[in-house]
Symmetry: D2
Subunit: 125 residues, 4 copies
């Protein structure tokens, strides 16, 4: 199995089964899951905390670091999927709709190669 | 399209196309992407900041809040996918391997209905 | 010494001396320090991750938890002070000015006992 | 007034008065305050999100950015002080004790000019 042939729904099920088997749905309420995602995102960020940008770029190619960083990414993804499960949210639709909004906000012509200069409270992905 | 028939690879492509069209790969280095995920996760968390757990559970069922929360989730997912793109990381494999580790750490028999009592620096999804 | 007779400037010096002795000013640039504060804040949050509000209230009275939580708070404070040092920022003035703005935004009459219902990108302290 | 002559206790009182006047103590429980600090830290980080290290260093010297960044720092500090109030925690003692631990962990001789290479779940201030 790989990203090429695994659907989002299948990954959602992997996480849901894990949570169900442990009867952790009580803990997996939206407030706690949002906190948990934020905590895991910080653990991911910690891998790059003191590195220059060049060092950060290099570290993702080193086997041990790569595995550890991958595990943090997996933790983040697992909480995102669990939150989508709790909300009964279709991630495919939600992502595509948001990207349409983002595309309207950042037209290709004016955004090419330009970082967003000021904090806006909005994503710029 | 929906989570039932969309593959992870397809969502990765949606994000990669968006970044490529804007020539944002310079900004989408791993250090910045980890920061960005953390920032979006905080914006998601903000929706639950002052709510009791019951209020937080209710808010995900209200249309306007649900849409806004969905957008934050989409932003988080987009950065996760972009990071996976930059790292050339297979999310399906990475998630499944991490869930095997988590299952070993939290055996069903001893974990059932039990929250993890102490911070450990490790995920408990 | 205690909070009653220690000035902000004295605490700033404690942190500055620590950083200077280790020649860590290269690493303590504003981008890294903002990341570091965010990482430490997540470690603090981790102590309350799976707790109900009542459990969280109780945990701060238990000696061991209290000490560990205090250490995370100290880490957060240290990074805030280091950032103020780097920016040559007077925290007393900055805090008082922000509280004046907050007071204008949240007048006592209309804010009494009312949580802020929607995310605003603004602090509500 | 300035950092030179303002005590920690005085700043704690500024925040406590603000919270008390609005009867916000219900919301200012430790779990919510830890979340709030994390959210404000992310807003602070957002100012440096897409900047190179050099650009981030420059931005703190530009008046408008400096004011906005100062406001985020004030928000972070306010939540830290509120948490210390709720916990009845002496920040001066807590910080100094933690710095002693940090000094033992990072001896001057071996730490000089050396960034901490691996995530450890521990502060390196």
């Amino acid at each position: 199995m790989s990203d090429e042939n695994t659907t989002i729904a299948e990954l959602k099920q992997v996480v849901d089964r894990f949570v169900s088997e442990r009867e952790w749905h009580t803990f997996h309420n939206p407030k706690n899951l949002a906190m948990s995602l934020s905590i895991e995102a910080a653990e991911l960020m910690e891998h790059f905390q003191w590195l220059t940008q060049d060092e950060a770029d290099a570290v993702i190619g080193q086997a041990e670091n790569r595995d550890e960083i991958g595990e943090e990414i997996a933790d983040c993804l697992a909480y995102l999927l669990s939150l989508a499960n709790v909300m009964n949210l279709d991630l495919d639709q939600t992502l595509r709709q948001k990207m349409v909004k983002n595309a309207a906000k950042y037209p290709v012509e004016t955004s090419r190669g330009v970082a967003r200069p000021n904090p806006s409270g909005e994503s710029s992905v």
